[in-house]
Amino acid sequence: MATEAKRVTDIGPPHYEKFLHPLIKENYGKWEFHETLAPGVLAHTGPNGTIYSVRMSSPRLVSSNFLRMVCDLADKYADGYFRFTSRNNVEFLLANKDNIEPLKKEIGEKGFLVGGTNNAISNVVHTQGWVHCHSAATDASGLVKAVMDELAEYFTTEKLPAKLRVAVACCLNMCGAVHASDIAILGLHRTPPRIDHETLPNLCEIPTTVASCPNNAIRPTSVEGKTTVKVDEDKCMYCGNCFTVCPAMPMADPLNDGVSIWVGGKISNARTEPKFTKLAVPFIPNNPPRWPEVTSKVKEIVEVYAANAKPFERVGEWIERIGWEKFFDLTGIEFTKYHLDDFRHAGTTYRRSIHNRY
């Protein structure tokens, strides 16, 4: 117990200043403008000089080997300074312009890509999946890898009409940006929770479990003399909230779990207000390791967008210009009753005008 005295808590993160390149400190808050030198290479200029950022892809789920390699590169080319972006790319921060090309070369040799800036697909914001989460209806890392293998050329170039943000989440909790992405891939369950009447009475508080259901599908019941719950299957919309609250109501169902595709969300306020992502493909069964039906559908959407949108038009802005019907036509995706909203504010999504394209 000798060490206990030394135990410190609540110190918070280290102060960021320790980690800033001297050139950044000098220009801190005084930057004047930025330029793009090449896909993945940005130059930010302030009164005290220019810092060069070289952006490298990362699978996000990484090992200590990967991080050591990043450190080695940063030491070699960036005076030991680097950062990660809000989309999990690595950014090497270079004071010396001459280091750009050698760094890019070495990144390439190590099997990584430089890009993700401007009118490109950047890294995919994603979640834990079968790698770590009990809630997952699909894997996340595998889906990202499979999809980005198809779309890598749009990471290393800037030939899309605008930024294109892809997100993957493995269940409806949507730990990430699924609800506001240009294209989102969402794992989902399609069957109600199965109830383990053996363990439920001990594991879960009945009122909390009942209250967890947004659609009032859960009712208390009694099985073999013990109070447990039952689910009105007609009311269950497979959200999994009950499982989050009560472990005895698992959702996983290999036959029926799978993936949906969503389009047209955005976050920035540029031009149009932030938009939610809307349903495109309601369901594709899980088909690991490469989910070919998902990757080809996503790729198709990207290609149709690339071919049809105008410059600086995000996916959602493009669809709104041409109309949703045209989007379904162009991508060959079937419009079904599942696309019609039936949740809380469904009525606000019905078309209440005569504005329509014929």
Binding site: Y28, S63, F66, R83, A136, A270, P274, P289
Partner: protein, 404 residues
């Protein structure tokens, strides 16, 4: 050891141009049995099309309620390496800046105490140290704090704040996102480490309306930089864009949401009273245009993912505020009032955005002592169901206003 991995399905994911997490995990599988068993269990998930993790239990470090996500394999006999596989959320530095020295220290710690696997970073912003055993949690924590690192949030607490690069590398930053993130995190260490809220509460700081942290979609409190005065124009640089053949008319003028830009000859003219600070023109011509001088931020409250009442973007509660001379009191005061009201009147697992929708914006504003403003709404109400609070009582004889 990696020799007997037998993960043919996963190995399919070693092909292709995008960096492979499988190859990377494999690279440590030799020295890290946890990593090897993670791959094996994942291979089985790929075969069976389902996950094999059990619902998390209550694990953590002493005195903290958050920062660790408990996780156990559902098949511990088959995959003993991941029988425990808890994650440790380490509070990242503002803007995710590192030096190689600092990061190597963390890598060493995790190679020693955990799986050697990471999420750089988690969706909330933390450095996620992925997978270790219960008995390694406390030693990990000690090793981390020794090097100056602390845990982030989880559970019904304030979650780890995060921010865009802001003034550290961006000319658009309207306030110091890096400093605010640091100050908020330090000021609310207790709320971060000891879950006592109705539900989680996330904060994200973006320096301008481009919102590079997705604050408006992913944080209960989105602090987004904004300015009040005119966009700064450098007409000379503007003329260069025209001269370079940049299609200002199509790519800028026609894309301005309020059409408040006109170009006469080689001069750009902005009707700033009608500019909604969308950033588009500035984004397209960063050398000619820049955010104004009277800078600060708006605060949008209530963003969240769909569970349970549907996804929400944050809605404007503070149209404009600024930090002067590094004094955060006004902001802390706002946050305290908000938490207090939510704490008192919210219900368990009710995010603040859902809470506001339930009690109504008017009630929320009254509860936190703020004045209503048209800046908070898209438009005034269109239904006539108004709860009038003042009315005349008989005894007033139609003169004064009655009590409620």
């Amino acid at each position: 050891m990696a020799d007997d991995l037998k993960i043919p399905l996963l190995e399919e994911l070693e092909k292709g141009p995008w960096p492979s997490f499988v190859s990377d995990i494999k690279s440590v599988a030799d020295r890290k049995p946890m990593a090897a068993d993670l791959l094996r269990q994942l291979e089985k998930s790929y075969e069976d099309k389902r996950g094999y993790w059990k619902h998390g239990g209550l694990v953590g470090v002493m005195g903290y309620g958050g920062g660790v996500i408990g996780r156990y394999s559902a098949l511990p006999e088959d995959f003993p390496g991941v029988s425990h596989f808890h994650t440790v959320r380490v509070n990242q530095p503002s803007g995710w800046f590192y030096t190689t020295d600092a990061l190597r220290e963390i890598v060493d710690i995790w190679d020693e105490h955990g799986s050697g696997l990471f999420n750089m970073h988690g969706s909330t912003g933390d450095m996620v140290l992925l997978g270790t055993r219960t008995e390694e949690l406390e030693p990990t924590f000690r090793a981390l704090t020794e090097k100056g690192w602390d845990l982030g949030g989880s559970g019904s607490d304030m979650r780890t704040p995060s921010c865009c690069v802001g003034p550290a590398r961006c000319q658009n930053a309207c306030y110091d996102t890096m400093d605010m993130t640091y100050q908020l995190t330090q000021n609310y260490q207790d709320e971060l480490h000891r879950p006592m809220f109705n539900y989680k509460f996330k904060m994200k700081m973006s320096g301008c309306p481009n919102d590079c942290t997705a604050a408006i979609a992913r944080s209960d409190m989105a602090v987004i930089g904004i300015w009040k005065d005119d966009i700064k124009v450098n007409q000379e640089e503007f003329a260069k864009y025209l001269d370079d053949g940049f299609n200002v008319q199509e790519f800028v003028v026609e894309k301005c949401p309020t059409r408040c830009i006109t170009v006469e000859g080689k001069e750009i003219n902005i009707d700033n009273s009608n500019c909604v600070k969308c950033m588009h023109c500035i984004n397209r011509m960063p050398k000619a245009l820049a955010v104004g001088d009277d800078k600060g931020f708006a605060i949008n409250i209530g963003a969240k993912a769909p569970i349970v009442e549907g996804a929400l973007f944050g809605s404007v509660i503070v149209p404009f505020m600024k930090i002067e001379d590094g004094d955060y009191e006004e902001l802390y005061d706002f946050i305290d009032r908000m938490w207090e009201f939510w704490d008192e009147h919210g219900t368990a697992r009710e995010r603040i955005g859902e809470f506001i929708e339930r009690v109504s914006l008017a009630t929320f504003l009254e509860g936190i002592e703020m004045e209503p403003s048209p800046k908070m709404v898209k438009a005034p109400r269109d239904n006539p169901y108004i709860f009038y609070e003042e009315y005349f009582a008989e005894e007033d004889e139609g003169e004064g206003e009655g009590e409620e």
